[in-house]
């Protein structure tokens, strides 16, 4: 008996359940057990009576209730009459007991419907629990006994007027849950009233009731939409989630209802309960896709002035400073992204996932990365959560490897994982594979192949095959690895290897006859039909490479033909045909024999095939023109199969949805529309009345846009609820601030975007997207362009051009060249690609995209390193980079808040890896140590300088307990690395330390200890290493410089090596000597750099004015005059070098 059958027995019929044992001491009429069969009819009759009473005099339902009470004396039904009796008793405790048992019956799925009249009477009970249980019963059975259910309605109607909001709420809840079509008008009325209720709880309930009513009677749609519209205006966080859900169910297409409430919803979002958040976020995702333009356009430039200021105005969002901003975004679009971001920290996995999908579908490409960490965190959750999250990551990782590559290890399979989780992890690992990490991944795969879970082992082999085809470097390695697997003892492993090898050989039709021969040898031992078929196919396809073996295989097959599986038979026929064509001398007879066998096979597929092949290859009088093409038909070069991810086409569904999970369109799935080419009028979202006015600090070098004033109108008449006001106003102030900046800054982005637009799809007019930029915008645009043109390559926090463009070399080229075709955009797009200055390199690495042009400019040693980055696939960025950059942002939030508002500390520029010796292996008895300044912000304390120390054991014995001992001066603040327990001979380990030099170049002396010895060492920093780069605009620079004149200025005329006069070379040498940031400059002859000291945060401004004949005036402005003179000396030296 199958399980399903067994289940059928469990299915409740109309058979009445056995009466549960009655509690002792209860008087029971056992004679009732023998009562008549017609009892059911009596119930119905009495029910009809009731209904009549009700219909004629609905107000007298009380009377009806008493009427029932008297009648059921004779309405006995075998089974539940004891319950009925109890329900009709006067004691609440008995009734309660009975109801509990009834609920038990419902829970078990047994039918308790004949108790309906007895139960429904208790709906007016004073006992809360009893009442609740009656509600449970009503909701379950009202649909089946609609007429009787009407009896309860007036009780609810009365409760709807109750002074207590909870009673009102729950009355509406149950009333709307009773699926009785007759009461639709009553429900409609109740909903409308409740929607205007003072209590948010009742309003929430009414929002829920809307969906219930709609599902019962879709004709009410118009009226319900009115209620929804009203409730959408509600400012309570309690209501927001429910009403949006009602909106999604009733009228998801009425996007116009959202306009006015958009900003309010965004601002309330954080305070809405978690389930509501999910619903609102997914609705807003859909909304945003119809209302805003795509942030993914290529070639958009960005202006760091505005970008920086944009974040300045928003102190909470410092983190975002990392994410450069290459595009003008509608301020509302930005508002949404900003307000959803904190929800990534939610404990509710559904919320995190919905924010992740929002970022995926709405955020500019480079900002999507912030969701990575949170998604990886979800992998710690329950198995089912993992499953869904991994599915989504699998889809994401196809398009953007860089997002998850640093977290590759999180996807390593654990042996305790369920099979479907393992397979998904494998999928993701395969997606993440590239030249740089393939060796690691393959090593990991080797482990998996040995897994006991054979389905998983087989999937691993498939994955290896995919890696082999995708990454040509490892194809041979993989192939030989797979060949090794052919001698595995496990049948499934071997079979799967054969299948994968077949595919691989097909993609690489070079000399692999050895492998084919090897497989031919194995042929006898392989029993899995798919594998056998694959080998036969290979034999046939490459029969000319193995002229001796193929006929022999065919001979063996002829012997066993009848015993084979269909698929093997088909391939045998194929092989025979191919051999007949190439080597008919040896195989003619064999072929004919096989064709004869096939002719009488049981399977008609094989009979058909045989007939077809025979006509095709064996020449006879009937065979037509095809015969001479037989060879070309059968031995045509076949395209290699493409091994690609099963998740490739899943991106057509919105992430996080059921449809995505199933890869089929689920009922009620709402398509995510494409971005509109031209954003619809954004003023529709303007609300007359908004939060209090915000005051902005006027920002240097910025013009306030009148637009934003219009946007957030100043008059306030109505106040938000207290809570939302306090949080909301902050938000809106920052957002409006940002809006003005963005629109200011965005001007040229927009222009380039437009031109890009026109160049790509020429039909569309660029003026369409003009809607918001005002005249001053365009003026500024011109100015900026002028500024920009001369200094292409030296931008700090450089523009982070769209990641698509950076994605891979060729594409980037192509896109920029296409941009060039439209003359207007030329400068911009060039700027764009050029702007990848060293400062962003580190970031890029993380994003694993590189623009080839950077290469040319960056330092020699760096470009050597970066050569790998040319390849389309990402490099393996060192993990520490990632960690540190995120930490950096944390640190910024923490400690750098005192920095003047005109600048920001940026990510450090590339590290010129100048390594110094700390301890020579001769003096260190085998222990040698080298260090370099990593130029990363120190992780331990912001005022420390990060130093990376490489410890190597050059002795022949292992060293133990390497740690840092005494230090001098004793007050020296060092963050030591953790004791290294053991360092094997020839091994080396890199550790990082933090040292607080207190802005002096005084050496840090300390002892490096092993278990036996102690060595005094010292680290003396170059003055340039005591700095942190900071970004500022030229205007800010000049302003700050103006504050640091006189005593604080040190300058000298220096002579530079002639090779160093180009701006690239200057940047290179300055950055080599000091850890400063490049300040964009509008003049060719001026080069400016800005930094600040690590410990005290004092500004250090370096400017270099080129004079004739390779001399230059080098000026350093800083409070720290000692540092200035030392830095001057260093820079002079550096620039003098060729």
């Amino acid at each position: 008996m199958t399980k399903a059958e067994r289940r059928l027995q469990w299915k409740p019929g109309w058979r009445a359940p056995r009466p549960p044992p009655a509690p002792s001491g209860l008087p029971l009429d056992f004679s009732a057990l023998t009562s008549k069969i017609g009892a059911m009819r009596t119930v119905l009759v009495s029910a009809e009576n009731l209904q009549l009473t009700l219909k004629t005099e609905p107000s007298q339902e009380e009377q009806a209730l008493t009427h029932t009470k008297s009648s059921p004396k004779e309405t006995h039904k075998a089974g539940n009459e004891d319950l009925k009796e109890m329900l009709e008793s006067n004691k609440d405790s008995l009734k309660l007991e009975a109801m509990k048992r009834v609920v038990g019956l419902i829970a078990k799925g047994k039918n308790a419907s004949e108790l309906f009249p007895a139960v429904v009477k208790n709906v007016a009970s004073k006992n809360i629990e009893l009442k609740k249980l009656v509600y449970v019963y009503l909701v379950r059975y009202a649909e089946e006994q609609q007429d009787l259910a009407l009896l309860s309605i007036s009780t609810f109607q009365r409760a709807l007027k109750d002074p207590n909001q909870f009673i009102r709420g729950s009355a509406l809840r149950v009333l709307s849950s009773i699926r009785v079509p007759i009461i639709v008008p009553i429900m409609m009325l109740a909903i409308k009233e409740a929607a205007a209720d003072l209590s948010p709880y009742v309003r929430k309930t009414s929002a829920h009731a809307i969906q219930k009513l709609y599902s019962m009677d879709p004709d009410q749609k118009e009226q319900l939409i009115e209620v929804i519209e009203k409730l959408l205006k509600d400012k309570s966080t309690l209501v927001a989630g429910s009403v949006v859900l009602a909106f999604e169910e009733v009228c998801p297409d009425r996007i116009d209802l959202i306009h006015k409430n958009y900003r309010k919803l965004c601002n309330l979002l954080v305070d809405v309960e978690e389930w509501g958040q999910v619903v609102i976020i997914s609705m807003l995702t859909r909304y945003a896709r119809t209302q805003f333009t795509s942030p993914w356009k290529e070639g958009a430039t960005f202006d760091e002035n505005n970008e920086k200021a944009f974040y300045e105005s928003d102190s909470e969002e410092k983190k975002d400073q990392m994410e450069a901003q290459p595009y003008i975004m509608d301020p509302d679009h930005r508002l949404l992204l900003r307000n959803t971001k904190p929800l990534l920290q939610s404990r509710n996995t559904a919320v995190v996932m919905s924010v992740a999908q929002l970022y995926w579908h709405l955020a500019p490409k480079h900002e999507v990365n912030i969701v990575t960490k949170s998604l990886v965190r979800l992998l710690r959750s329950h198995r089912e959560v993992q499953y869904i999250v991994l599915q989504n990551i699998a889809t994401m990782s196809i398009q953007r490897k860089g997002m998850f590559e640093p977290f590759m290890k999180s996807f390593y399979v654990r042996s305790t994982d369920a099979t479907h989780i393992k397979t998904l992890k494998l999928e993701i690992l395969t997606n993440l594979a590239n030249e740089a990490n393939i060796s690691t991944i393959l090593r990991e795969f080797q482990t998996y192949v040995k897994s006991q879970d054979k389905a998983f082992a087989a999937a691993t082999i498939q994955a290896i095959g995919r890696c082999a085809t995708n990454i040509s470097e490892v194809t041979d390695t993989c192939l030989s690895g797979l060949v090794l697997l052919l001698s595995n003892r496990d049948e499934t492993v071997v079979a799967e290897s054969v299948v994968v090898i077949k595919k691989l050989l097909q993609t690489q039709p070079t000399q692999h006859s050895e492998i084919i021969k090897h497989m031919a040898k194995l042929f006898d031992n392989i029993t899995v039909s798919m594998a056998r078929a694959s080998i036969l196919w290979l034999m046939g396809e490459y029969c000319e490479r193995v002229p001796k073996i193929a006929p022999d295989v065919l001979r063996k097959m002829a012997k066993t033909f009848t015993a084979e599986e269909d698929i093997v038979k088909l391939q045998t026929v194929n092989l025979a045909a191919k051999l007949y064509l190439t080597n008919s001398k040896q195989t003619k007879l064999l072929t004919q024999y096989i064709l004869n066998l096939g002719k009488y096979d049981q399977s008609y597929d094989i009979r058909d095939r045989t007939r077809f092949i025979r006509q095709l290859i064996v020449p006879n009088e009937k065979s037509g023109a095809l015969n001479k093409y037989a060879r070309r038909i059968l031995l045509a070069p076949k395209p290699a199969p493409v091994l690609e991810s099963a998740f490739k086409d899943r991106d057509r569904y919105q992430l996080g949805t059921l449809s995505h999970s199933l890869n089929t369109k689920a009922t009620g799935y709402l398509e995510l529309s494409d971005w509109p080419a031209v954003a619809p009028d954004q003023s529709v979202r303007n609300v007359e009345v908004i939060e209090p006015v915000q005051e902005w600090a006027p920002l240097v070098g910025k013009t306030k846009k009148p637009k934003s004033d219009k946007f957030y109108s100043d008059d306030e008449e109505e106040k938000e609820e207290e809570r939302s006001e306090s949080s909301g106003s902050k938000d809106s102030s920052s957002s409006s601030g940002s809006s003005s900046e963005e629109s200011g800054s965005g001007s040229e982005e927009e222009s380039s975007e437009e031109s890009e637009h026109t160049s790509s799809d020429s039909g569309k007019s660029s003026s369409g997207s003009e809607k918001s930029s005002s005249e001053s915008d365009s003026e500024q645009k011109k100015k900026k362009k002028m500024m920009k043109a001369p200094q292409k390559k030296s931008k700090p926090t450089a523009a982070f051009s769209d990641s698509d463009e950076n994605g891979n070399g060729p594409v980037a080229q192509a896109s920029s060249s296409s941009a060039k075709s439209s003359s207007d955009s030329e400068t911009d797009s060039e700027d764009d690609s050029d702007s990848d200055s060293p400062a962003t390199q580190q970031k890029k690495k993380r994003d694993v995209k590189l623009n080839p042009k950077v290469e040319v400019k960056s330092k020699v040693e760096v470009s050597l390193l970066d050569l790998d980055d040319f390849s389309p696939a990402p490099t393996n960025a060192p993990k520490s980079l990632v960690v540190s950059s995120s930490l950096l942002s944390d640190l910024e939030g923490l400690s750098l808040s005192n920095i003047s508002s005109t600048m920001q500390v940026t990510t450090p520029s590339f590290g010129p890896v100048k390594t110094y010796e700390l301890l020579h292996h001769m003096t260190g008895k085998g222990l040698s140590a080298k260090y370099h300044f990593s130029r990363q912000p120190c992780l331990y304390q912001p005022n420390m300088v990060a130093v990376q120390v490489i410890l190597t054991n050059s002795s022949d014995h292992s060293l133990e307990e390497i740690h840092i001992g005494d230090r001098s001066p004793a007050s020296l603040n060092i963050h030591c690395f953790n004791t290294i327990e053991r360092l094997e001979p020839e091994a080396s380990v890199t550790v990082s330390m933090g040292i607080d030099f207190s802005d002096s170049t005084q050496a840090a002396n300390f002892q490096l200890c092993t278990k036996e010895d102690q060595f005094s060492v010292s680290i003396q920093p170059a003055v340039g290493e005591l700095l942190m780069p900071s970004t500022m605009t030229e205007q800010d620079f000049i302003k700050e410089q103006g504050k640091l004149l006189g005593m604080n200025e040190t300058s000298a005329t220096i002579t530079m090596a002639t090779a160093n006069t180009s701006s690239q070379a200057i940047s290179k040498h300055v950055l080599c000597a000091a850890n400063v940031g490049v300040v964009s400059s509008s003049e060719n002859s001026f080069h400016r750099f800005a930094g600040q000291t690590v410990s005290s945060g004092a500004l250090v401004l370096v400017s270099l004015e080129l004079k004739e004949s390779s001399t230059a005036l080098l000026t350093i402005n800083t409070e720290k005059s000692v540092m200035a003179s030392m830095l001057l000396r260093d820079l002079k030296q550096s620039l003098a070098q060729a």
């Binding site: 399903a4 909870f166 559904a350 059921l658 640190l891």
Partner: protein
Amino acid sequence: MIHSLFLINASGDIFLEKHWKSVVSRSVCDYFFEAQERATEPENVPPVIPTPHHYLISVLRHRIYFVAVIQSEVPPLFVIEFLHRVVDTFQDYFGVCTEAAIKDNVVVVYELLEEMLDNGFPLATESNILKELIKPPTILRTMVNTITGSTNVGEQLPTGQLSVVPWRRTGVKYTNNEAYFDVVEEIDAIIDKSGSTITAEIQGVIDACVKLTGMPDLTLSFMNPRLLDDVSFHPCVRFKRWEAERILSFIPPDGNFRLLSYHVSSQNLVAIPVYIKHNITFREGSSQGRFDLTLGPKQTMGKAVESVLVSSQLPRGVLNANLNPTQGTYTFDPVTKAGRTPAEVGSRSAGSDAPPARLAHTAREVERLKVNRLDMYGEKYKPFKGIKYMTKAGKFQRDDLVCITGVSTLTYETVTLEPSSIITFTSAGPN
């Protein structure tokens, strides 16, 4: 959204059903049973199963499948998260979430489910609110209820749902005002065959038990918040304050809750306090094999590794194991280890490709999160505060306020062994 819920036990019986919209016949579960039959292990049942008219989303916990029936598009995580929340609530109410407990308390279960969902959309999922609505059953209350006929449904209506702090019930009163925080960190690691660490990462949580009168407003600050790399909060935590100052500021729910879970960023590789070596040999031509496992402490900065637990998931084919631990004791559970599918026994032939050892365990790490101070505002009294640090302890030990360090639990898993092999378990135990 969620149409119906079916609870299915390990033997495939539906023992509870609840419908929030119109009734869905339980025959819809047949699709689930089909999938269950196809899956070799109970965990392998796919969480999302499409059927012609419905979608089934299920979670498996405590050997009970919670199967939700969905009719239209909904984020699957939404349903999964909710089902887990249901299980957590049951556990909170009944102590355990077993079939027996659910059957015993079917009325409470029904009342809870009724409150938790309205028309398939979550309504009240905070345990503080639910406890106000429906009192958890205790032995005493059950007795009183049967005698006096009083109810376990809250007499007064919940106010929490309406307030700004929906997670906290109002009118909380305690004579002893206490706030306990457990900082629990665990290391997850994968160690390969040769004993070197492939990955190791530290995850931590702060579990709190706060029993404070009134509406206290707590702030918790850390000595080393920089360690926190990725965090997720209980909704009570004010996110803005955290962003700006790295201080946890919150009005706590009453009772037990998880305040924070975090990932520790550590630059260096996490040092694992024990080493483990294993060796498997097979006797040619016999179905027996030998399995050696050596486990010992690494240097752990003078701290002892305590209560080491090694658990090894043996393959289904293993019929019996004979272990000789040098230290401690061992148990072998033939039901879960060997009794699964004896059918596969014959198919595996003896050989020497030892599978990789994969190790997941927890222990002390490099540097741990330290709480700096805990302050309370908004109330007059002086609470008793306690903070406990643990590197993984299985249970929530509330009365134990001693700072425990170096407790570690270690799970050793996955070795292939031939049927009825002899296992020698050598454990150089911790000092």
